[in-house]
Symmetry: C2
Subunit: 643 residues, 2 copies
């Protein structure tokens, strides 16, 4: 058993690199104090986490550990990766503890979960409830689908969270024993393969960061370097599904299963940073750039296919059944966040913002008791409750609404751990000062490397308004406050104590000897605007979306005049969308074109609608759709009459 050596005081945050441009702040240094995301953190604590704990028991996934510990033969419940949901909810509780302090009920739940999973660990460190017992499939016999190392990775991330949050010390010992087992089994002289689903890499690097044990980093490097050698068995979806088609260092764009791809690139970023591998970092920046340029929905969602939960080819971004898995949103943020810390480029925070407001915020129901698994951009029929199995778990493929729990329920726990740790995404520091990346009512209290303490408060009801007011509480003389100006925010201004200057999209930096009470105001223009797709996005040619600030809006049937349909409505782009306190409105017309016997004709008049009634109609923020009863919805609205 390895001793734990804290190499340096480490922020209580999910990602703590030993290098890079920005240093993360701990959840005790960067706090949300209310508003859009603060409320969602409270919902997470009061509703989402308890809901997940309930379902993990009900579905029998925690029970798997008890059975495994008891030793008798048992029927494993859930998918291959059911173990990981327990780890992810422990991670969520840990970050929530770091954010808002100990809570007797949640701490007790955490301790009990740790006891139960620890009891199921084998003597050699291995810990998985579906493999390895005499009557089960052998360990590591199903690298494509078994998810063993994937589960381990989540355990490691979760145990690091638990340790940083100062919770149950027993858990880290479980993690270390497991990680040591992995290093033996998959080291230079071990099994020369990878897990079908990347994740172990992230856990190993973060455990290295916590403990300073280089062998965990070395093992992560091995996994990154091995992928793309085709060691995984051939499967129906091809080797790109698990990114085993091309070595990480040679890939130029993300492909295959979206969450696998993003976790892999996030893990590779960790490896690049920790090993000082600037070539690898450059490759990962290229992968990100090409993916964002050609394979991302306007919501920030990723994943075009249901079949293999995968990226489409370049510009294959159909709104129909766009997959945009909630976990892909989480994973996208994980990748972008690591690149932001490593490089300091604001484009990464831009994508994080887009994804936060239009994927993560969309997933949970207002009461935190149901979740989107996929986040479609076009719902043509009234969403209906999906089929559930005998345990009451939603069968994933048929879901078009938010559901309480899923057979494959990766998304709710992923959302929970992300919401709990959100504060860490809000701001960072470097030698010169503090950077604010995301906006919401919040506070920063941190100490620069040279010992200077900086405190400030951020007040705003962003994204409702674009006024972000920062008040310095404590300041050590001259330092730099860097504010991200979103890429969509042309015409922004920054005022310091009332003196305004234009601020270009990118970063607005203010360097001065701030004094307590100084006020900096960032004004972001919040006009609603039409957004047009690149010509090559075939699936939405002739359509526009509407965005206000970072929030993509949608046309939802419940807002239409009686007798209108989202399927037969066009928007007049000659009249700009209106935004005021009541939300966003656009000028629509009902497009009248009957069903024809065959939906194609050599006569364009046969297939061109006439425009009937017109009206100004409210759009709904995409994140809030499907919260007012059954509805149809579309993000992309046709602009005219069949052109």
């Amino acid at each position: 058993m390895t001793g734990i050596v804290e190499r340096h005081p480490s922020p209580v945050a999910p990602v703590v690199p030993r290098g890079g441009v920005f240093t993360p702040l701990g959840l005790d240094e960067s706090r949300l104090s209310g508003g859009f995301w603060g409320e969602r953190q409270e919902l997470n604590r009061s509703a989402i986490i308890p809901h997940a704990l309930h379902w993990l028991e009900r579905a029998g996934w925690t029970g798997n550990f008890d059975h495994a510990a008891a030793g008798a033969k048992y029927d494993h419940r859930g998918m291959e990766f059911a173990d990981s949901e327990i780890y992810k909810i422990i991670e969520a509780i840990s970050w929530d503890r770091a954010r808002s302090g100990p809570d007797d009920v949640l701490d007790a739940a955490l301790d009990q979960l740790v006891d139960r999973l620890a009891a199921a660990q084998d003597a050699d460190g291995y810990l998985h409830t579906l493999f390895g017992r005499a009557w089960q499939r052998p360990r590591y016999s199903d690298p494509s689908w078994g998810h063993e190392l994937y589960c381990f990775g989540h355990l490691l991330q979760s145990a690091v969270a638990n340790a940083r949050a100062g919770a149950n010390p027993k858990y880290l010992q479980v993690a270390i024993a497991l990680a040591d087992h992995v290093c033996v089994m998959f080291g230079e002289n071990g099994l020369r393969t990878v897990c079908g689903h990347a994740e172990i890499e992230l856990g190993l690097v973060e455990l290295y960061r916590l403990t300073g044990e280089l062998r965990y980093l070395d093992q992560a490097v091995l996994f990154i370097d091995r992928r793309g050698a085709g060691t995984l068995p051939r499967i129906e979806y091809g080797s790109a599904y698990s990114q085993d088609d091309i070595p990480v260092r040679e890939a130029t764009v993300l492909r295959g299963h979206v969450v696998r791809a993003l976790y892999l690139s996030a893990g590779a970023t960790d490896v690049a940073v920790e090993t000082g591998d600037t070539d690898l970092l450059r490759v990962l920046e290229t992968q990100w750039a090409n993916t964002v340029a050609t394979r991302v929905y306007v919501t920030g969602g990723m994943g075009s296919h249901h079949n293999d939960e995968a990226f489409g080819l370049d510009y294959v971004l159909p709104p129909d059944r766009s997959y945009c898995e909630t976990c892909a949103g989480v994973a996208s943020i994980m990748f972008s966040w690591r690149l932001l810390l490593a490089t300091g480029k604001s484009q990464y925070a831009d994508l994080i913002e887009r994804t936060l407001y239009n994927v993560l915020a969309a997933a949970p129901a207002r009461d935190g008791q149901a979740f989107f698994y996929a986040n479609t951009l076009h719902q043509r029929s009234m969403s209906e409750p999906a089929p559930v199995n005998a345990d009451g778990l939603c069968l994933r493929g048929s879901s078009s609404g938010r559901e309480a729990w899923f057979e494959a329920s990766c998304c709710p726990t992923n959302l929970a751990r992300t919401l709990a740790g959100l504060g860490a995404l809000w701001a960072t520091k470097d030698a010169d000062g503090v950077q604010i990346h995301q906006y919401g009512s919040s506070s920063v209290d941190t100490v620069l490397a040279d010992g200077r303490r900086i405190s400030l408060d951020v007040e705003t009801d962003y994204p409702n308004s674009g006024t972000i007011r920062i008040t310095v509480r404590e300041s050590p003389g001259a330092w730099t406050l860097a504010l991200r100006v979103p890429s969509w925010a042309g015409g922004a201004t920054v005022s310091v104590n009332g003196v305004a200057e234009a601020a270009e999209p990118g970063v607005a930096s203010v360097t001065r000897p701030f004094a307590a009470g100084d006020t900096i105001v960032l004004e972001l223009p919040m006009e609603a605007r039409f957004v047009y797709p690149h010509h090559r996005v075939d699936a939405v040619r002739g359509c526009v979306a509407v965005q206000r600030g970072p929030v993509v809006h949608a046309l939802e049937s419940v807002d239409l005049p009686d007798g209108w349909s989202t399927e037969t409505t066009v928007v007049d782009v000659s009249k700009p969308p209106l935004a005021n306190g009541d939300g966003v409105r656009v000028h629509l017309s009902a497009a009248d074109l009957p069903v024809r016997p065959f939906p194609y004709s050599a006569d364009v008049a046969d297939v061109t609608p006439s425009l009937a009634a017109s009206a100004e109609v409210a759009l709904t923020p995409y994140y809030d759709w499907a919260n007012r009863g059954p509805s149809t919805m579309r993000v992309w609205i046709p602009t005219g009459a069949g052109d």
Copy 2:
């Protein structure tokens, strides 16, 4: 064992209803003599059928029967429905025998297959190689996925084909024993469920038609009436996947798994016709009409989703990864053909034509040694060989090219049986005369109900030209020759002995006392034309397709000037497409728009291409794409600059 009672001399054809508007002709009465489809029938005999026989052995699917007969425990090879491929290839050989006469090699292959499957039949008539033995899953334990009744249905269809073609008499005894088993097991007092995949209904009705045994019809009625009661277990894709969501008589449109839906409706049509149930027939006509109006690709292909091989909702017809399974084309023809026989409406023959030229003709490679499983309308990357398993079988989901054989290899054998029986689709008769539905070099030699013998020859190189010349060889005085005028063929003419008259789309009938040597010429206008999508087909808004005659054309990268791409090309619709002996050409421009950092912008200029070089470019018939090396392809071509 039931005795076989031929109730009436029956045409040697796949579908022989006892009622309906048109009477089918046997394959000995309606023959293709060359040209587009005649050549494909020869390819079927010389290449496709032998290829299938080879792979059925190689994959071990015929071997399953040998193992089952031997009685010892064995590893079943292939999918749940592997048995059915053997039945379908026997059906193909049977129809080919009826078409072109006995062949020693093929007859021997057929006899050997019948011997092997007969040896595997249980004493009570049950016959399936995957279920029911002590070490296998129990019979009927997996109604959603087990495909037992599905396989039985194909056996029955195949045995009827074999009997009508006068091949191996032993096979019909196997079928009758099996059908009797089904009637006992699933009759009024038996298991009150259905098979997840419809097909048994078709087999039972056709066996009834052959034998006159009403219990087979009654059992088919039971299966039709039971579906939609939700007796099948809940699965991920929902109950619509197996059409178990709504009773057949209440459904207004096809939905769920495409082949299941079409086989079910085809079987229900058989039931409606045999029971004189005009209400049910009307429902099925409505299902067909609504499906064709809103859920069919311009190729006639059906099926929008890979995930569940299913119909999309109305107007969800994305060309990207459009599924359009080859088997769905076969199934669509089966449904339309039954409705055509029942109602006499030419719209059904129109869809058959569209599907023949643009789905079935597309599936096989020119050499008959490889097949499309899915028939996409847009191929963005060079198609690559798909992954194969250890047996050399293509793993379905990743295929974007024609492949030799598939793990789920339903399509090649379905194609083979359809091609062999194609003559039956060409013409019919009624009390007044003969109807010609499809055009190609062919002949009709038949006897009307009143004993009058009619013979005629059809000469044409359709669809290369639109001139169809019919010469009467034998005529019994006044009768009616009815010629389908395709719905796309405005401006057609019919000439009788040189005297031309206009012929509207629909049916052109000529009634007169024809004499031997009389010549009737149907002239169909063969100008190439742009085809526009209905406004509600979002996925191809702002695009056109090009059709000449029944043949949809496609833009294939191998025809583009150097440096152009199918992904960055627009078509000038102000210049009509040109068609001459060299094929179809359109006026294209290269659309220049760089990759942007993010594929959406509030500034329309950012996402609008400029038009660079222009050129006249040849299109390829869609059915012939991917036959000239790796290529990209699109059926729907954008018309302009991002409008």
